[in-house]
Symmetry: C2
Subunit: 500 residues, 2 copies
């Protein structure tokens, strides 16, 4: 299936006419520079490459689609540098592309921007088995790096559903959070060094391999989460933790969000160093999974809330003992109403399925309005309830076909205060969007939450940044953008309207 063009979905976005139009002469320059035939996918000189360009023009969800006529696949940092310098000089717009799994439309062109695809830069350069520092090209696929590390007894400090396709450069550029953040912290802490190329071609050689280096401003931090708007990341050094030998998973039911918070508090206290995930699912989300998979639920009864706890440690017996004791304790205290422990690998996978299967179940049932937000923990679930009430009051929610909305559900990384609010719909109905927005953004802003916890701004959220950032902060961001990309020519598409 082919999606709509982004330029149609977002008619507000206009091509900046200061950008040049691509010519065969430009293409010739790139051909000579990159040498390899397969490194230049050329739809400028002739139309025959249209099919080959399609994957560069649309994203993982097929929600965003561009009109790009040229994709470049550089093989080295020097090539990236020369491409950017040339584009800057010639006023050609570009968009960096990693695994194309970002969910906010940042990695695909809107108009005719040149795609700079990083997949050919895919070498693992160095790994120090004592310190655990890994040096990789930006185009290395996350799962490839993690498999490499597994053999050495290490683990990549980041894990997410798209790991088979997403690239480390893309992960850094979006400051991806994912499933291990609770345990290993954010990329701002685990990335030790970055090599990147600025829009004018300058190579930033900050590929530090040290955990500690206090010699001046930590410039590399600006590239983490900047979604390709100030430069292209070409290499990175990552501090990788030791891989845990043992894994245990528990799933339990609770009667209120109040109790969920108590359980989280207890889990941190009793499981502390071995806690590696604390996920929340509401009853609505589990109903959807049941409806789609027809699987038997892990617990006999239904509860308003469920949590999934994962522990990772170096000693399986110790960990089971702790988890068992924890479960007994919280059940005795009435915090948890019922629970079950996975007994083996298969059961672990099955329990995780009740959390990880939600996205798939949702897409199986039709469309969904998805909000990946962060809210102070105490108020986190309130957003789901308030949204549900609002949709219901508008007469849009119901079990029968006349209602466009099937369910308003919430789940997410409880440990990180990261909620995935999903409004599952039966069909498109413009009343739904009107009821949801800007209501949800305003609700979040009032509570100092974030309108984008994990995924970034991209095309999807750039115009809402004001809900999460003050005018002062946005002003400072513009300054940074101006510093690295003064003519605002290349690398600007996603945030362009924001940053001009």
């Amino acid at each position: 299936r082919q999606g709509k063009f982004t330029s149609e979905t977002y008619p507000d976005l206009k091509r900046d006419e200061r950008f040049s139009q691509l010519t065969p002469e430009h293409v010739n320059y790139f051909r000579e520079l990159l040498g390899k035939e397969s490194a230049v996918i050329d739809g400028v000189s002739s139309d025959s490459a249209a099919d080959d360009l399609e994957p560069f023009n649309s994203d993982w969800m097929r929600k965003y689609r561009g009109h790009c006529k040229l994709a470049l696949r550089p093989g080295s940092t020097e090539e990236v540098s020369k491409i950017l310098k040339y584009c800057n000089d010639k006023k050609l717009a570009v968009v960096p592309q990693g695994g194309n799994t970002g969910l906010v439309g940042g990695s695909v062109p809107v108009f005719d921007e040149i795609v700079i695809s990083m997949g050919r830069m895919n070498q693992i350069h160095e790994f120090d088995e004592v310190s655990g520092t890994l040096v990789v090209d930006a185009g290395v696929i996350l799962e490839t790096a993690d498999h490499f590390l597994a053999e050495k007894g290490y683990i990549f400090p980041l894990d997410l559903g798209a790991k088979g396709s997403c690239q480390i450069g893309g992960n850094l550029s979006t400051n991806a959070g994912g499933l291990r953040l609770l345990r290993y912290g954010s990329l701002h802490g685990t990335v030790l060094g970055i090599e990147a190329v600025l829009p004018d071609g300058t190579i930033i050689d900050d590929l530090c391999k040290l955990r500690k280096n206090n010699t001046g401003y930590d410039i590399k931090q600006l590239f983490i989460g900047s979604e390709g708007t100030i430069g292209i990341i070409t290499k990175a050094t990552i501090q990788c933790p030791q891989r845990s030998k043992a894994q245990n998973v528990a799933y339990f039911g609770l009667e209120s969000f109040e109790k969920v918070q108590q359980a989280f508090r207890e889990a941190k206290g009793q499981l502390s160093e071995i806690l590696s995930a604390f996920e929340l699912m509401d009853e609505g989300s589990q109903t959807l999974v049941t409806d789609v998979t027809k699987n038997r639920r892990p617990l006999d009864d239904k509860y308003p809330f469920y949590c999934l706890i994962e522990t990772s440690g170096s000693n399986s017996d110790h960990d089971s003992e702790k988890l068992q004791a924890f479960l007994e304790d919280v059940m005795e205290k009435g915090i948890v109403l019922d629970g079950t422990l996975a007994q083996d690998e298969t059961q672990i996978k099955a329990l995780w399925g009740w959390r990880e299967g939600i996205t798939e179940a949702l897409s199986h049932l039709g469309s969904a309005y998805k909000y990946d937000v962060s809210i102070p923990l105490k108020q986190m679930y309130q957003l789901v309830e308030d949204t549900r009430a609002r949709v219901d009051e508008a007469g849009l929610l119901g079990d029968t076909d006349e209602h466009p909305v099937r369910a308003v559900i919430g789940y997410g990384h409880m440990g990180d205060s990261n909620l995935h609010l999903n409004v599952s719909t039966r069909r498109y109905d413009e009343r739904v969007e009107k009821v949801l927005e800007p209501f949800i953004y305003e609700w979040i802003a009032e509570r100092q939450g974030s309108i984008s916890a994990e995924h970034g701004l991209g095309i999807a959220k750039k115009k809402y940044i004001g809900y999460s950032r003050s005018a002062t902060m946005i002003g400072l961001m513009k300054q940074i953008k101006g510093l690295y990309d003064p003519v605002s020519l290349s690398l600007v598409v996603a945030w362009a309207p924001l940053l001009k």
Copy 2:
């Protein structure tokens, strides 16, 4: 004892004549602004405050001493903002001062800069017992925050020897590392939000309380480790981990640095999630401690190297079992030659004394050239050996009085590749410095190490930054400095020569 003036020790530093001279009129402005008598320590209008100004003019080591005539103690962010704006307008130089425990001379004036002392801003504003996020004023003393957290079952993710005096604002400004970095990571990961004031008085309101917030450039990161050169931090939000219930400590002897690395690798594998410190001490360092304290050594025999391992976990029995098993395993494999486990609180303290007592022993014995550096782990100890050989070849090292150098020793945070190289001297001899510098900096640069792992640049190391950072990176830093402090007037003293 009164130290030498910094302006004498560093005759190269010249007062920038673009700065105005302080007048009683300026002082009157500050008096009216701050109201409180005790908030303005005035040596401008009369000489009577000279004694009161002394603590603001000299640092913890009494190694740096300034000529400041005015110290201000603001009580709110708005006051800091007005002070900076006024200073910027009137071209008055300032230096932010926290607990004054920084070791590189960054917190004290060199000439007549106004000290902005943060100690009055010392409120703990908020703590969320479920998520563990703490909101504090910059002037809160680290230990105060940690005691507050202890009562709630949490811990501050940073710990260091100066905790009784240093302030959280100072910790952030120096990106302090310390004893818990191995476990909880760097402040770039654990600081969730910052409120700061720019040189022109602009208040940056980025006091985010969320673990995840991907909405634009992470500007706050620039303030972490910037040593007060681009603004004054006024508040911070910190993600605090759960406090561990159990602590265990082991101390053991090894025959080579090769074995130390093996032991580290094994400790990470076997102790993994409970490992909270892995410290290295060489025989030379332990001899110094023995000489000064006359304490009986933890092990019967002497070994070239010793390590101290600390574990922190939620279950004391589990942790002891793991540590015991680890020790048996590494002894069996011949990695470790002898070892001992602390049996109670007192023994834990005693064992830590063999690591933490080194600094004191060194200062007891006279002066020392101190280098706080980071080097890729494999080569880390080589620096001590090469330095020792060099000092020895120059005929400067020996047991007898005619030799200016008593010992060249190494110890440090092995887990973070962070070495403290110390050259203990009997008296000042200019030949020693000549043998050490720039040799040590060049040695580190060749191995892509850092000339300042933890403490920052300050006055002490600013001119050596080129050994750890490329010209491109230094150029980017100058840009940032120029962005936030365009006239390079206030907040520049420490890095001034570098950044102009």
